[in-house]
């Protein structure tokens, strides 16, 4: 009899704890409650509940902590200061998948705010456990772990190197091949964030065989996945000629050109970024792009977009034209110049205008023929007005001034002097 009463007391306590932690987790979803929660000292309470005996309470406490840390970086720092991270990392290794998901969510929320917080996560040995979570069977756990690794690797090159040293890259390449779309997205974005910092890291990603899989998945209909894949490929190819050649060898042309016709703005932007990164290295690569008909596709893409999504395409035309005069001629006959002048006149932003002016300059600077082809489209008055107007920036004025006035006000081009 008395045993039953004793157990009743324990049961009530457990119910109270469960209710508390569930309510806190729910309140933490709304931003206006978070200040009040923080002032009430919820951090230390959640910390003790994290060590609770009942698994459900542990998971809900971890979830609540993750939501709080997600909100702003003061709370994330408070999480780090209360020594919650070592406990999380330790129990991450042995608990079930719900707890693993919640704990990886906390690590992600803490790591995304600043490099110092991410360094704190690395220092308490979380990388090894996250990499172990990447080998788990449940795709939700893999996704949470990959997301956490992505946010850690995003900040700078040392953190990316630490992630790579923990052996995450081959597992991420395996995650890309999984059937779940969300997991593929996160793994592709993680690889993209790792490869963007330095050529060695990009080389590591390529050595793990990621490029072939990424190139295969360009055909996938999901827009967000394509966006991440194209971003990953462009981060890999931007560092050096060898890497760009390796990406090209994976037979992305002409499949990438279909992505330029996609409905999603970000997919178009990333596709033109990828083509720009490939074309900018050497004349041979630009030649390859031109031969595959990439210039026409990019020009059409510029025509169909507005604003910042146009910028990579404009720069790509500039790079292609800069390499040699034959390529500049190829850009001209693909009807690039009218499109660029349209961009120049109708875009409100200064940096896009500067880029368009620079591209036109690269096209026109080779020979008088080229200069004439540019002048025929009546862009010179526009350029002059831009130079004269007081509100255009220094950058814009310099870019407009240099290729034109110093080169072609002299002898050749009667047409030029008349305009």
């Amino acid at each position: 009899m008395s045993q039953r009463q004793v157990l009743q007391v324990f049961e009530q306590y457990q119910k109270a704890r469960t209710q508390f932690v569930q309510m806190v987790a729910e309140l933490a979803t709304r931003p206006q409650n978070i200040e009040t929660l923080q002032n009430a000292g919820v951090m230390s309470l959640l910390r003790t509940l994290l060590l609770d005996v009942v698994p459900t309470i542990q998971q809900t406490a971890a979830l609540a902590l993750g939501r709080l840390a997600n909100y702003n970086d003061d709370l994330a720092e408070a999480v780090v200061k209360c020594d919650i991270l070592p406990q999380l990392v330790y129990s991450l290794a042995e608990q079930n998948r719900f707890y693993k998901k919640a704990a990886a969510f906390v690590l992600r929320a803490v790591g995304k705010h600043s490099p110092q917080l991410a360094q704190a996560i690395v220092d308490c040995g979380a990388l090894d456990t996250l990499v172990i979570c990447l080998e788990d069977f449940d795709p939700g756990v893999k996704e949470a772990a990959a997301w956490a690794l992505r946010y850690i690797a995003r900040h700078n090159a040392e953190l990316s190197q630490a992630v790579v040293d923990a052996g995450a890259v081959p597992l991420l390449v395996l995650c890309i091949q999984e059937p779940e779309i969300a997991l593929k997205r996160i793994a592709a974005s993680a690889l993209s964030d790792i490869a963007k910092h330095s050529p060695e890291l990009a080389q590591t990603v390529v050595d793990a065989g990621a490029v072939a899989h990424l190139a295969q998945m360009i055909l996938n209909p999901d827009a967000k996945l394509k966006h991440q894949i194209l971003s990953a490929l462009s981060q890999v190819s931007k560092h050096s000629v060898d890497l760009a050649e390796m990406v090209v060898e994976a037979e992305i042309f002409p499949v990438v050109l279909t992505c330029l016709k996609d409905k999603d703005e970000y997919v178009k932007k990333n596709a033109s970024t990828l083509i720009r990164e490939i074309a900018k290295h050497t004349p041979e690569l630009s030649q390859l792009v031109v031969n595959a008909g990439g210039v026409a596709a990019v020009i059409d893409c510029i025509g169909s977009c507005k604003g910042n999504t146009r910028l990579p395409g404009i720069m790509m035309l500039g790079y292609v034209a800069a390499h040699s005069e034959n390529l500049a001629m190829a850009v001209i006959i693909s009807k690039g110049v009218p499109q660029l002048s349209v961009c120049l006149s109708e875009e409100p932003e200064d940096h896009i205008k500067a880029a368009a002016a620079w591209a036109l300059g690269q096209i026109g600077r080779h020979t008088p023929e080229h200069a004439r082809a540019v002048a025929v489209t009546n862009t010179l008055p526009v350029l002059l007005s831009l130079y004269m107007s007081t509100e255009s920036s220094e950058d814009l004025q310099v870019k407009v001034l240099f290729p034109w006035i110093f080169r072609y006000t002299s002898a050749e081009g009667g047409q030029l002097s008349t305009t």
Binding site: L7, P55, N96, K263, G293, G294, V295, N326, A330
Partner: protein, 361 residues
Amino acid sequence: MATLARLQARSSTVGNQYYFRNSVVDPFRKKENDAAVKIQSWFRGCQVRAYIRHLNRIVTIIQKWWRSFLGRKQYQLTVQVAYYTMMMNLYNAMAVRIQRRWRGYRVRKYLFNYYYLKEYLKVVSETNDAIRKALEEFAEMKEREEKKANLEREEKKRDYQARKMHYLLSTKQIPGIYNSPFRKEPDPWELQLQKAKPLTHRRPKVKQKDSTSLTDWLACTSTRSFPRSEILPPINRKQCQGPFRDITEVLEQRYRPLEPTLRVAEPIDELKLAREELRREEWLQNVNDNMFLPFSSYHKNEKYIPSMHLSSKYGPVSYKEQFRSENPKKWICNKDFQTVLPSFELFSKYGKLYSKAGQIV
């Protein structure tokens, strides 16, 4: 006699003269010794010098030959390196020649060739047009697919609506709202409703019991798992049509837990364990572990008189050794036999048969 006297007269001086003659020679002795030593040392010196000179000559010859040998080896290496360099230079020069010719040819044929450039640009523009067309087609195809998907979705939604509203169908007596008698033709919804099949009521789902009882609290304190019911719930599937048995009964039958017989459930050396248990319980009641000894001072002064059996030379035959349980030498392997009494099956099926014979109503 006279000589004797003469000798005797001279005898006193003999000693002196002897001494004097010997001592005169002494400085000459030293001088001669020194001279001899000098001559010898000089000669020895000459000998040694000659020997050293001889050795030097021989050593020079050896070193000469060795150095020439090393030099010849080094020379071979140098010759190899020089040969290699020369060949590489030759190859490089030849390669440069080839590259020069090729580059000249290439530049003249392709880069500075106006007609070739025109061709190339034409090809490029053709490719561009082809790509543009292909991309247009691709975009169109995407559009069409999307439209089709939208249409299908609309169709499905309308179908579902019609199924929900099937009761608005008109009957023979009463025209429905979509079939007003004042219209020439019934509304298209009417036809839709006619085609639609009515929705069935959804069967109530098997609710999962809320486990908040005490035993469940005890169960979930283990770090292994959540509190869960004993019977595994089945994966949700469509309700089959037809007169089937109640699903909970079926599941109870299918997932019935194991009920082992008495023979399996009890351990095999139960008797030994029971004995140990008894001994342990009795040991609990002991005050002291040592054997209870008699008081030693009580019989201190008495002398013990042994019996006839004990005082004889011949002892009894120890009959303990005949028994296998007391004599380890009689064991076959290194352990004694176990006493195993298996339980019998008389009451194993009690209460588990279908018949109700013998039960108290």
